[in-house]
Each structure stands twice: as C-alpha cells, then as structure tokens.
C-alpha cells in the first residue's frame, strides 16, 4: 500500500481543508477511501452511529497536483483508512500558507497519514512542519460496509431552502423539542414542524422546486403513483442530527436537495463543483 500526493494549488488546498473541516463537524471518526480517481469520506449507517450515514466524494485531481496510489492489491486497488477527521482538519488548517503540502501514508509508531508542508519564511530556508495523523487500516473483509449507498426509494425530492435560514430555524426549534418533522411535497413546498404538549411550531417554505430526477427515479413510482402533488411526505428525525448537519457546512453548495422516504429516512445531498456530500438521517417513531 502506498500513497503519496502533493498539493500545490492554494485554492485546492483551501477547498480540501474546508471539506475535511465539514466532515469533522459531522462525525468524530470516519473511513477515508482512496482510489486512483477519487477520495471518499464514509460513515456507514450503522446503529452505532445512530443510524447516520454519510458519503462524501471528491475527485483526487481537484485536490492533488501529484498523486501516486497503490492499493492493497491490483484487483483491490484502493486504500481504506479509519481516521479522525478533526486531526486531519487541524493539520491542514495550519498549513494554508504553504508553498507545497505533501500527503503520505507512512508507518511511524503506527500507520499515519503524514501531512508535511514547507512554510514560507523570511529567511532562506523554509520552515518545515510535519503532522502525523494516526490512522487505522480497514481490512479488506470490511470494505463492503463502506460501499456507496444506493439511492433510496424516495417519495419526494425537493431543493432545500438556503442552509443558513434552515439552520436559524432549526437552532430555535431545538430549544423547544428534541424531534422535528420534515415534510415536503411535489410542488416545491417544505415544512419543518415541532410539536410538544405546550406548543407546536411550523415553518413553511414555498417555491423551492423539485429536482428533476427523471423517469428512472422512484419519485411517483410504486404504490404512491397516484400521489397528489400537494400531499406531504414526512419523516420525524432527531433534531440534533439535523442541526449537526447544518452547523458543519463550510462550503456554500451550488445545489442542495432533500429526499424523503415517508417515515423512514431523510436523505440530504449537497453538491459543490466536484464535491458531493450525502447525509442520511433515519426517521424515529
């Protein structure tokens, strides 16, 4: 297994750092998968994670100027590491001004992802800073747990309102209740509702638009074929999980969507240039 990459472009470094920082706000530990073309940050939707699933994909070429990767074997040409994204984020944040950043898989006291950078200084010699981020190698037999999640059979898909607005709303709702109901319909309307013994609050969003998934999509498919466009599809989720998702966003997405499977799962998708982030929040009774 071998990994050596160099990041020379400041904008790429910056973007990569922001992606990693977003991931670090969503989960403490995740799996980093490296293939010849892509990087994936994966959190499998296990009960241990509270059922939260996350899948973040970015193309390696938009991060590294040089990239050499040799996987576990030639058939399984990828590397799978368990990493604490916060460490990675911290390391990357301190080297933003570097002329060049090297990322290497090394074996120090344990397997590490080493971030080494040359920082500009007033003197002739550069300052070199090295961060060794410890990682755990994920054995091949567990790789199946970190495959790309399949698109759920959603009932409704809708574009999200501006994330900042959503965050403000959810932040205030969190003070009143632990659970929030997200509902949306096929005419671009979405509601965020909370209900307690004393009070119920609903925030209505209109004219959001529905992403055109096309005929293949399960939207309108199945028994809900005759679903009325105004009918709301809903899922009740733990408000903290939604809040965590909204809090962590460092990048303004070019597209933000939400797919809801009635009373099963909320699937959030953010797209920004070549980076895609999918986040699954399970519904609770």
């Amino acid at each position: 297994m071998k990994l050596r990459g160099r990041i020379l472009d400041v904008a790429c470094l910056n973007r990569f750092t922001r992606v990693v920082t977003t991931i670090s706000k969503l989960t403490k530990v995740c799996v980093l998968r490296l293939t010849p073309d892509n990087l994936f940050f994966v959190l499998s939707g296990k009960v241990a994670n509270g059922g939260i699933g996350m899948w973040c994909e970015l193309s390696q070429a938009n991060v590294f100027d040089e990239y050499q990767m040799e996987g576990v074997s030639s058939e399984d040409n990828e590397i799978c590491l368990e990493v604490t994204p916060e460490n990675l984020s911290r390391a990357l944040k301190t080297v933003q001004s570097a002329k060049a950043v090297k990322v290497k898989l090394t074996k120090k006291h344990c397997p590490c992802l080493t971030i080494a950078a040359e920082l500009p200084t007033m003197s002739s010699t550069s300052r070199v800073v090295t961060h060794d981020v410890p990682v755990d190698i994920v054995p091949r037999r567990l790789w199946h747990e970190f495959k790309e999640p399949s698109m759920p059979d959603f009932h409704v898909s809708v574009y999200l309102p501006p994330l900042k607005t959503m965050k403000n709303v959810v932040d205030r709702m969190k003070n009143l209740s632990n659970f929030l109901v997200m509902e949306a319909n096929l005419i671009g309307e979405m509601n965020l509702k909370i209900e307690t013994d004393l009070v119920s609050v609903t925030t209505h969003f209109k004219d959001l638009g529905n992403p055109p998934w096309g005929d293949d999509a399960s939207q309108d498919g199945g028994p809900s074929h005759s679903r009325e466009p105004e009918a709301m599809v809903q899922a009740r989720v733990d408000i903290r999980k939604l809040q965590q998702f909204l809090m962590g966003q460092q990048v303004n997405p070019s597209k933000a969507m939400c797919n809801i499977v009635h009373e099963r799962v909320v699937h959030l998708i953010l797209l920004h240039e070549d980076v895609s982030l999918q986040y699954f929040i399970p519904a609770v009774a």
């Binding site: 006291h109 344990c110 080494a116 070199v128 961060h131 060794d132 410890p134 190698i137």
Partner: protein
C-alpha cells in the same frame, strides 16, 4: 507605596497583568528599589513569571520607606481593573496605585477622560516572598527572536496541548508535541516543526539538548511580547533545568520560568497528572526541621543572579533537603542527547541518534526552589518520565 503610570504604559501594565493571569491565580506585588515587581506562580509550582517595571516606567514611583512591603492579591480582581484593553487605550489617562496599609487596601485609581475617575480598592494579603533563583546567563543554549516566530510556531499546536519538546542542534530547532506515556500512543497526533537558525536574531547552541515543558503557560508571554513587539529571548540548559523566556526593554523586564521534564528511566510514581518538574529554589542549608514548618519568614532568597549558585550546585550542597525532595528511586538517570542530522534532499528524512551518558542521581530534581511555604506533600516530586520515544524516520514501506 505610591506610583503613577501614565499614557501608553497603562496598557503595557494591563497586558503584563493579563499574561501573569495565565500562570497563577494570585498576583504577588513587591515594590522594590529597582522597580515594581509583579509575580505569579502556578499551583504546582512548575511555572513562574515575573515582570519588573523600573522606576522610569512610572511618572511617579515611591516605595514604602523602612520596611519591605509584599502582598498578594487575587489576580482576577486586578484583571477586573484593567478589563478592556481597548477602552484603556482610549479613555484612561493615568493609573494611580496607592497603598493603604491601615485598611489593607491597594487602591487603583484610573483617571479617565472627561474627569471620570474609577477607583478600585483591592484587599491584599500579606505574603511571603516569591522569588525564583535562576541563572539564565549560565545556560548553555540561548536564542532570541521576534515574537512572531514563536507565535507562528505555536499556532501549529492545538490550544489544549499541554507539553512540547524543543530540541536543538547547531543549525536547527525542532518543536514537537510531547505525548504522555500513558496516553494512547497510537491515537495521538504528532506535530513537528523545524526552525532554521537564521530565522532567529540570535542562535547560540552549546549543548544539543531536548527540553520538554508546558506550552499553555507560555502563551501568556507570547501574547504580551507580540503586542509590544519586544523580542523574546529563550534560555535553556539540560532537561530538568528550567527554561527561561524573557522580554526586555529599557523600562521593563519580564521573565517566564517553566520547569522541564527531567530525564529518568525509572518507573514513574503515583501522581501522573503533571509531568513537569516542580520549580524549587534551594537555599544555603537550612536545618531540616524548618523546611517543614509554616514559618513564613523562614526563607528569603536574594534575586541577585551573580551570586546565586547554579541549580545543580545548590542541590548537591544540601543533601538533607535534596533527599526529602528527590525521588527515593535509586537508579541513575540516563541523559539522552538527541542529535539530529539531515540530508539535503527533497524528502527531508531525519535520522536520530541517541547517546547515553550517566548522571548522578542528585541531579534529577535539581531545579529552582521557592522560598514560599510548601506543604510536604506538594514537595513530592513529579513522576519522571521514561525514555522519550524516538520517532521512526519516514518510510514508504508497505503498511500492512
């Protein structure tokens, strides 16, 4: 005591107090002939800081005649007087510090614009003298740099990081975080930064040593130095002997003295919370009994560095004291010197060599000792650390 600070110096005084607050909870105030000394020490006695403001810093400086006056005040109270630095700069014209011995008050009066006066009466407690003996000029390694260099170095380490290790060779300085032995080695992130000698204004290495000390307490000095733009001088010797960082200008001198880990291969003792050695000042041999009693006038140490013996010498000269402080462990400590050599290639691989040399046991805990009263239990030395780990050189070997 009667002092007046005017203009921009009020802000300097405030900043000094804020940086002292990063060390300990109490501010020790001692007006001396050569200036006003403000000192602080942390609870485990492993960090000490002192700012000495010369009489010229003040527009008026009178000290109590006859008796020496010393007191300590809760530092939070003093910080409250100088709370907002921005406001101080804009509105305070002068600060008058006056001692009211009858009422046990130290009065801080801020004369502000538009005739506004803010008076703070702070009660103080009489205190013993808090002075550390250290002879920074005798230390083997001396450096001086603009504070920006150190601030830029420290930014690479998380704010929660406790200890860093600084190692030097003739041309370079390495700063890396120190991971405690018990902490999960495999989970700890290691950060290392390498500075070249030409980044410093002065870089004099006589001994290729590595010292480990607590970073948190240092940040107070860095903030002070950066805002005043004064260069920071760094002095250290061998592990176990404290590291001293100072800032000086014509009217003030600030010294931050931090204990460093001493090398010891023996098993660490019970208390593992703080790995740093306590700072202790040894004295010309007192009768062992007095050591334990509560007589606050028992110890007074002259701050005169020219006559203060170097730490190791005093330790050896006071065997009864040394025995009670020093660990009961008998094995000799090994002194590890880390030599760094690098090859000039793009990969920048570093090789580490270690050399062992024997050391007499007494030297382990030779450091400074304060004259202030310490209860016997707090005298117990801190746990020595087993050998510092050597980082393996980079390798692109198969990781399996």
């Amino acid at each position: 005591m009667d002092c007046v600070v005017t203009g921009g110096n009020v802000k300097v005084l405030a900043k000094a107090i804020h940086s002292l607050s990063r060390i300990g909870d109490e501010l020790y105030v001692e007006p001396q002939e050569d200036g006003l000394a403000l000192r602080s020490v942390n609870s485990s006695r492993s960090a000490y800081a002192c700012f000495l403001f010369a009489p010229l810093f003040f527009s008026r400086y009178t000290i109590p005649s006859g008796h020496t006056f010393r007191c300590k005040i809760a530092i939070k109270s003093v910080q409250a007087v100088f709370r907002s630095l921005a406001t101080l700069e804009k509105t305070v014209e002068k600060c008058h510090i006056e001692l009211d011995e009858q009422k046990n008050h130290l009065t801080f009066t801020l004369h502000c614009k538009h005739g506004l006066m803010k008076t703070h009466n702070l009660s103080f407690q009489d205190s013993e003298s808090l002075q550390a003996v250290f002879d920074k000029d005798s230390y083997a390694n001396v450096f001086r740099s603009h504070p920006r260099l150190l601030v830029d170095t420290v930014v690479h380490f998380p704010p929660s990081l406790e200890e860093v290790t600084v190692s030097v060779s003739d041309e370079r300085m390495w700063v890396r975080n120190h991971v405690e032995e018990e902490a999960d080695q495999s989970k700890a992130m290691l950060t290392e930064l390498c500075l070249a000698s030409d980044e410093f204004d002065h870089f004099a290495v006589q001994a290729h040593n590595s010292v480990t000390f607590c970073l948190k307490e240092l940040r107070g000095l860095l903030v002070f130095a950066e805002s005043t733009g004064l260069p920071i001088s760094m002095y250290f010797d061998e592990p176990g002997s404290p590291i001293v960082l100072s800032v000086t200008d014509s009217v003030l001198e600030g010294n931050f003295v931090l204990a460093t880990l001493s090398d010891d291969h023996n098993h660490r003792k019970n208390n593992t919370k703080r790995l740093v050695d306590k700072l202790k000042c040894t004295l010309p041999p007192p009768p062992p009994d007095d050591f334990m009693n509560d007589d606050i006038d028992a110890y007074l140490i002259a701050m005169d560095t020219s006559i203060a013996p170097g730490p190791s010498a005093t330790c050896l000269s006071t065997p009864p004291v040394a025995d009670s402080i020093c660990s009961k462990q008998s094995a000799a400590a090994n002194h590890r010197t880390r030599l760094h050599s690098e090859e000039e290639e793009e990969e920048e691989e570093e090789e580490y060599e270690t050399a062992d040399s024997g050391r007499p046991p007494n030297k382990k805990f030779c450091s400074l000792f304060f004259g202030s009263v310490l209860s016997p239990s707090s005298q117990m030395t801190t746990q020595p650390v087993t050998s510092q780990e050597v980082l393996a050189s980079d390798s692109e070997d198969d990781v399996q």
